[in-house]
């Protein structure tokens, strides 16, 4: 399984990432999810902080778990950090597999676990106010459906 995990400030190009992941013909299916900063009242900036030494290791663990559950040929995870504006891309998860069902399922699995396990934190700027985004219990619920 090809694995590409990157944490970066700069934007990413979905088409390029998918070509790198699956352009060799090994995979018949690629499912990808791209997350963007949602426009909300007064929200000017969303700033993402992370725990550099842990982030990639934690994502690699999640990708390994996905590879144990489904027959995958490749996974790309790109997560941006630093200040982002409404509409900007935050995260990409792309999963390649010989068949679509595994690709869809593993992509959703990875997004659900990324949200509850990978050490990222978001701080919102609204006018002159800053506050940290609270973790949502519904995100924990989302991972429960994958538990065996």
């Amino acid at each position: 399984m090809k694995i590409f995990i990157r944490i970066q400030h700069e934007d990413f190009d979905l088409n390029r990432e998918v070509t790198v992941l699956a352009g060799d013909g090994e995979s018949g299916a690629v499912a990808s999810f791209t997350g963007h900063v949602r426009r909300e009242k007064d929200l000017s900036t969303l700033t993402l902080e992370h725990y550099p030494d842990m982030t990639e290791a934690e994502i690699a663990r999640l990708v390994g778990e996905a590879g144990n559950r489904w027959p995958l040929t490749g996974v790309t995870v790109v997560h941006r950090v630093g200040p982002l504006k409404p509409g900007e891309r935050i995260v990409l998860v792309a999963v390649a597999s010989p068949h679509r069902h595994a690709a869809f399922a593993a992509c959703e699995f990875l997004m659900d676990y990324l949200k509850t396990q990978a050490p990222f934190w978001k701080e919102e700027t609204r006018g002159s106010e800053h506050h940290w985004v609270e973790h949502r219990a519904s995100d924990d619920q989302a991972t429960k459906r994958w538990q065996k």
């Binding site: 990978a118 934190w121 985004v133």
Partner: protein, 83 residues
Amino acid sequence: MTLLYFAWVRQKVGKSEEQMALPAGEIAALIAHLKSLGPNYAEAFADLSRVRVAVNQNHAGLDAKFGPDDEVAFFPPVTGGCG
């Protein structure tokens, strides 16, 4: 050992990283020690239901053990991804 703080835990403690010479023990005891060091620590660790822990870059519980050479990180529940 190395202590790391992220997000609002970092802001309340007032630093992102520090070194401490402490004997091996349980995370819960380490937190009790930190809270005795000053009001900034006491505030950061006032509600432990809102604080998560990692030992050597692995998620851990309050009952986890740490050693004198370990890296222990404290942070809020994570909020990555989107949507």
